[in-house]
Amino acid sequence: MTPRLDIRILLPVLSLAILLAAVFWLQPRAMSYLGLNLLFNLAVPVALATVAQMIVIMVGDIDLSMGAFVSFVACVTATLVVDAPGLGYAALAAAILAYAALGALIEARRLPAIVVTLGMSFAWGGLAVLLLPSPGGSAPGWLRAVMTVKPPLVPMAVLASAAIALAAHLVVMRSSFGVLLRGLGGNARSLGRAGWSPVALRAAAYGLAGLFAVLSGMALVGLSTAADANIALRYTLLSIAGVILGGGEFTGGRVSPVGAVIGALTLTLAGSFLSFLRLSPDWQIGAQGVILIAVLAARLLFGRRAR
């Protein structure tokens, strides 16, 4: 049991370390407070979205509306939260509740989560366009301040990523609530037999995912100071890739919150690495695909040796 667990976290750490070393080798000036902050700045919203996706994958589903939802949250944050804070925060809370309701609907009616979330991606996209037909808006002052704070020694982006990983780890791996959620992904029926309501649990899981996704959208606006309806569409693919890179599996509720955050950092770093290589931006998405495939292949090799 222990060696398998080690490998699940070892591989993401190793891929991040190798990529980081390669970046430093190509661009030694990145090895500084400012450099690190620039490298990992955009990792914070990606890491939050990845944790959200991880929670959905943990209960055996997959969320194809993550990018649209984070974009919608960004639009709410850049418009309503600035202009009418009361209404804005209420809208964000309602969005989390909507996510929980989706989870309940999926469990109660035994719906395919893939189709439901794909459909919802249209709904969130539509709401985002209604709120913000053209790019614009502004970041709430406190959010901008939080996202640009400069703590001593360690850049904010690195600290925030560590905090996200710790929070997700405590909730998912260390709390009894997390055990229940992982059990839902492992064997929903046995949880039901034990007297738990699968509908309530799936609703809770989706609500928790919605909370992290809302934080992701807010963090994104804090960094970009504006939003548009398509600002985070690529987060759907990035978040799934991040979970896989971080050692998550698709069945049995086997995920790693720390790994997922590291996976998100790796994917963000891959973008900077490619630009340091002077590789055309045409290949950015493709390279993410190649990295994903390479890590999966490596996992297969290591996993076999360990057995």
Binding site: P112, M120, F122, A123, G125, G286, G289, V290, I293
Partner: protein, 312 residues
Amino acid sequence: MSALLDRPWIWAWLAAFAAFAATAAISQSQGIAGLLVAALTFSAFTVLVGLGQMFVITLGPGNIDLSIPATMTLAATLSLKFMGGAGALALPGLAVALAVGLGAGLVNYALILLLRIPPIIATLAASFVYQSLAIWSNRGLRIKPPDLLSDLMLGRTLGLPNVAYIALAACLLAWVALERARYGREVTAIGQNLRAARFAGIAVERVRCATYLLSAALAGVTGFLLACFAGGAALNMGQEYLLSSIAVVVIGGSSIGGGRSNVPGVPAGAMFLFLIVSMLNSYGLGAGVRLLLTGVIIVGIVALGTRSRTAR
């Protein structure tokens, strides 16, 4: 009558007819004939990719081809580039699109087999690479399809659009393949019970390989046809087919869990999707409301449709 009502695809057809009536009632400017032609034209492309997706979904839980949009774009870009607007190269151009599709399907299946990862992730990761290839080869590209092909795609025979005939032929072939051929029985058997299918002596991996090849090949050809129809390949041309290829299978009454699929539901689902969007259009709603309602309607249909099937 009750035998007809038992068919899983009947509800999709009823919904499509209802949507047609509702849309025709409010869009006087276009006329019923115009609406029918538009519906047949645009749903034809969805039908073609939907059929491929249907066979993949039949294979069982977790089997979904997410690389369809990227494969469409890549095949369209490369084949249009190859033809360079020359009508004489129309057939070789189609062959190029087919070859790109088959190549993508082979890569998808190789990843599923060799890396032993869920097909969703394999096709997703591969689609990143196809998308990048398409972006790279499409850069600043504005190649028009040969006039011969665009005329063929935009043309009508006996009052109905040519693409509708192509989709109809594809549906008939798919029906024979699913219901009457050994291949369809094997795909269905695998989707119902993988282990039982293996014990029954079905060459499971060969059938799975053929299915992913089929889906990608259809995506490649559809990309080619769509680019000829639209007058060129755009990088986002495949985007909407990610949702619609899956949605038409589910709306058509096939089980998303696999093992229980039907062909007649696919064209009905495609028509319904198109008609819903055009109905929202003719109400004069903005893009935001339209998107929102499309999403809510799809989720609603899936919620109701899945319920009526599990209740039985």
